[in-house]
């Protein structure tokens, strides 16, 4: 089932995939704003809505990249604007750690990015997605560990 669905989208859209983990309170709203304002965006991103970037397990980043996601983008509320007060302050330490760790295991760190976008920043959202998509398009497909997954 799932494979079929993937094939259908593959035919109609670019085959590169970015997994976006977006905080429910800011960046998901920001992405929505960008959509409502009809800002053009590259079609690479697939969004996973999370309650807060504080929920962002660094393993999500590694698992997605190991399974062959071409990029991982994490976005939440600007520091000090967190719905839960400090979730994103914890998150940025973890994300900074995992971002620096990726090259040690042979994963290109350019495939991972985290940033902060508020619900009103539709324009900024468009910019973030466009820029990151350009990076991923330049890097091309990520082999990940799919061929080693049996």
């Amino acid at each position: 089932m799932r494979d079929e669905a993937l094939n259908i989208t593959n035919q109609t859209e670019a085959s590169l995939r970015i997994v976006g983990f977006l905080c429910n309170w800011c960046s998901y709203g920001g992405a929505d704003t960008a959509g409502v304002c009809r800002f053009r965006q590259p079609p690479l991103l697939r969004i996973v809505r999370i309650p807060c970037t504080g929920r962002m397990d660094p393993l999500f980043v590694i698992k997605a990249l190991a399974q062959g996601a071409d990029g991982v983008l994490v976005s939440g509320c600007h520091p000090k604007d967190c719905h839960y007060a400090v979730g994103n302050l914890y998150a940025r330490r973890r994300l900074e750690m995992v971002g620096r760790f990726l090259p040690f295991i042979g994963i290109d760190p350019r495939r991972f990015r985290f940033t902060w976008v508020s619900a009103s920043e539709g324009q900024r959202w468009q910019q973030v997605v466009t820029e990151f998509s350009e990076v991923i398009e330049k890097l091309g497909p990520n082999p990940g560990l799919r061929s080693h997954a049996g």
């Binding site: 660094p58 393993l59 590694i62 698992k63 190991a66 520091p79 000090k80 400090v86 302050l89 914890y90 940025r92 330490r93 973890r94 900074e96 750690m97 995992v98 620096r100 760790f101 090259p103 040690f104 295991i105 042979g106 994963i107 290109d108 560990l145 799919r146 080693h148 997954a149 049996g150």
Partner: protein
């Protein structure tokens, strides 16, 4: 002159039990022992073959122990004392109930390096350490091997061979000098290309049996009964024997130890397949040092960086 026995005798009235080492099936293989009877103090030993980090038992001890007045005595080399400190920092053991016998450490022996360095093969009857030499007595006679030739990788990079936390300290050996570049092994891998690094880990981890000895030997892996690696909901890693699954298991261990790992090297020492899994954690320790100037297990009052935040930081 203090000896191990005299120190343990002197603290005996304050403790319920002393965690230490005794001779195992031969003199090359000391094993952990829990001394609860005064007459067993004589069986305690301390030498560069006493590799196991005894603090691995403590978190369980504290979870199950009934509240008693007496303390838990424990022998601790430098690296072990850092593990103890980290456990105290995280509230997993109670400092007031510990009596730590610190041991200045000359480095521990890699048993395989020792086996390779020996020219004789007879069963070993005695081992002694003096002046930086390992003196092995067997049926074939006596043989000396320089300690430096057979030292464990973790000890080559040790920055705290003098314990960081103790109540009494035993100076039986000269502590190992601090190396110039403790992260040399990390850097050697980083000097290679991204592809080469990935190939390195795939090749190394291919051998992994997923026996979880590395995890079980880790003093700071304290949620083993609820480990993500074995959880079914959510199911993070499958039971398949693929290198991708092995890789993911090691990412779990590494990231759960990020900012906490004290570089004791037990994970690597315990690995039956000689996989340098300690390297993964050394990298996270190096990142913690770069980002937060934090060295885990050196300050019982410090808060691990990933358990806290600094709101004043800007730019990320």
């Amino acid at each position: 002159m203090n000896t191990l026995q005299s120190i343990v005798e002197s603290i005996w009235d304050q403790v319920d039990v002393v965690l230490g080492w005794r001779v195992g099936y031969d003199p090359l293989h000391p094993v952990p022992t829990f001394v609860r009877d005064r007459k067993d103090i004589a069986s305690l030993i301390w030498n560069p073959l006493c590799a196991p980090n005894l603090s691995v038992f403590l978190a369980k001890f504290f979870r199950t122990a009934s509240q008693r007045d007496k303390k838990i005595g424990i022998l601790a080399k430098g690296c072990d004392s850092r593990s103890l400190t980290a456990l105290i920092q995280e509230g997993l053991v109670d400092r007031d109930r510990l009596l730590i016998v610190g041991l200045t450490c000359p480095g521990t022996v890699d048993p395989d390096a020792l086996a390779a360095a020996r020219t004789q093969s007879g069963p070993i009857t005695a081992v002694a350490f003096a002046n930086g030499m390992v003196e092995i007595t067997s049926a074939d006679g006596v043989e000396c091997v320089p300690l430096d030739r057979v030292i464990e990788r973790r000890c080559q990079r040790c920055r705290h061979a003098h314990p960081v936390l103790y109540d009494v300290v035993l100076h039986d050996f000269e502590p190992r000098p601090v190396p110039k570049d403790p992260f040399a092994h990390v850097e050697a891998l980083e000097n290679q290309s991204l592809e080469a690094r990935k190939a390195f880990w795939l090749k190394e981890l291919e051998r992994c049996l997923r026996c979880y000895a590395c995890r079980n030997a880790c003093p700071l892996c304290v949620c083993q009964d609820h480990c993500l690696a074995e959880s079914r909901t959510p199911k993070w890693v499958t039971q398949k024997d693929t290198v991708a699954d092995k890789f993911l298991f090691h990412m779990i261990h590494t990231l759960h130890l990020a900012g906490r790992c004290t570089e004791c090297g037990e994970c690597e020492r315990a690995c039956p397949m000689k996989i340098p899994v300690g390297l993964l954690k050394e990298k996270t320790a190096q990142i913690a040092m770069d980002l937060w100037h934090y060295e885990s297990g050196t300050d019982p009052g410090a808060r691990p960086p990933l358990l806290s935040y600094d709101a004043s930081v800007t730019g990320i």
